[in-house]
């Protein structure tokens, strides 16, 4: 486990790379919230990306996983500003390729707005640039997680339906919402973009959605809103497509990076080339 002091917090960072040659490029994998961690990448796409020749950087975002959990400071722009500071700390100066899952994609889009010179491309999974509408729609569930008087029953119900690990993750999310100002801070973020401002995201974007997700409509809409954006839909998957179809996602990421001029070694194993 590696830790780096950034912005007054202790960030947990894991890094994988090719063992037999210098990396072709750096890709930073940004996880979601409020119960997600870098583990979602570590056991899914990260090993395949490292094997393909990439320097793979994963980190637990502020308040998540093994990174420090401050009481406050959870506006979107705070999450975004952690990233260039962390790259500085890691000695990564040039533009990097970003992969963002759900809220992690919003951090990536925010990085493209605030630090365009440090973003080579974005691969977004079940995500979109964070808008005021998104924050407003999210508000009730954040409020519920923070104030639900029947938390124990809710957790028991999740455990019964999805297993004890998911129950623990839900409890972790509830604790985060109850012990920090995250719910309030997200709504007060200054970096929420009106769709008319999406033109500020100028880097190449590839956005992946799951066919059974509520977000799948974005696959048609987002390319019209961003200057340089393509999308794809993964069949028979829901919002948790990164965990549900890691081989397809890693193959899509590698194809995307190859298209961006990165000299990745595309896997020859048939099972890893299953992306549609």
């Amino acid at each position: 486990m590696t830790f780096h002091e950034v912005a007054g917090l202790r960030f947990h960072v894991e890094r994988l790379g090719p063992s037999d040659r210098p990396p072709a490029a750096t890709v930073v994998l940004v996880h979601g919230f409020p119960a997600d961690t870098l583990a979602t990448y570590y056991f899914t796409v990260a090993p395949a990306l490292a094997e393909a020749g990439l320097d793979v950087v994963m980190y637990d975002q502020r308040g998540h996983g093994r990174t420090t959990r401050p009481d406050s400071g959870y506006q979107l722009e705070r999450f975004v500003e952690d990233l260039p500071a962390l790259l500085d700390e890691l000695g990564i100066a040039g533009p990097v390729h970003l992969v963002g899952n759900c809220f992690g994609g919003m951090v990536a889009f925010g990085m493209a707005v605030l630090h365009p010179d440090r973003v080579a491309s974005i691969f977004a999974i079940e995500s979109e640039p964070a808008t005021p509408d998104w924050a407003i729609q999210l508000a009730p569930s954040l409020h519920h997680g923070r104030t639900d008087p029947n938390l124990e029953e809710s957790i028991a119900s999740i455990t019964a339906e999805h297993g004890s690990h998911m129950g623990r993750l839900a409890l972790r999310a509830a604790r985060m919402l109850r012990t920090t100002s995250l719910a309030r801070d997200i709504l007060a973020s200054e970096l929420l973009l009106d769709p008319m401002e999406f033109w500020q995201i100028r880097c190449p974007v590839f956005a992946v959605y799951a066919a059974d997700s509520d977000l799948v409509g974005l696959a048609d809409r987002l390319p019209h809103a961003l200057p340089d954006c393509r999308t794809a839909v993964v069949a028979e998957q829901d919002h948790f497509v990164l965990s549900g179809a890691p081989e397809q996602i890693s193959a899509l990421i590698l194809d995307w990076l190859a298209e961006q001029g990165v000299a990745v070694t595309l896997p020859t194993t048939p099972g890893l080339r299953a992306a549609s």
Binding site: M1, E14, S19, T37, L38, A39, T40, Y42, F43, T44, P47, D60, G65, R66, G163, S164, H165, R168, L169, R172, S243
Partner: protein
């Protein structure tokens, strides 16, 4: 003549003791004493492992035994839920197998 496999590397008990110490380290704040961890201990039900705990364990395993154990191969094809559902013993046997120096002898 019969081919016999001889294992000359650490015993199951030795590997269990090392992994138990790692688990006590990973779960330092809340976890059990390493002496309480046995082959049948479940990451999910007994240790209440979260996926981020599994990352920490993987890092310690790689630092200790590197590619000789090949944890990546062990987790390949398993979803997070399946990994968490494993027992300590299943991991111990994977490590012991990975470290085993085998040789065929004739008698």
């Amino acid at each position: 003549m019969t081919a016999t496999t001889i294992t000359v590397n650490p015993t199951t008990e030795q590997v269990l003791a090392e992994i138990a110490a790692m688990l006590a380290d990973v779960l330092a704040d809340i976890g059990p004493h390493s002496a309480e961890i046995a082959m049948g201990t479940s990451f999910n039900d007994d240790l209440e492992f979260e996926s981020i705990d599994m990352v920490s364990l993987a890092v310690l395993l790689n630092a200790r035994w590197g590619e000789r154990v090949n944890f990546a191969e062990f987790v390949a094809g398993k979803h997070l839920d399946e990994l968490i559902a494993l027992t300590v013993g299943e991991l111990v046997y994977h490590v012991v197998d990975g470290l085993a120096v085998t040789q065929a002898s004739r008698r």
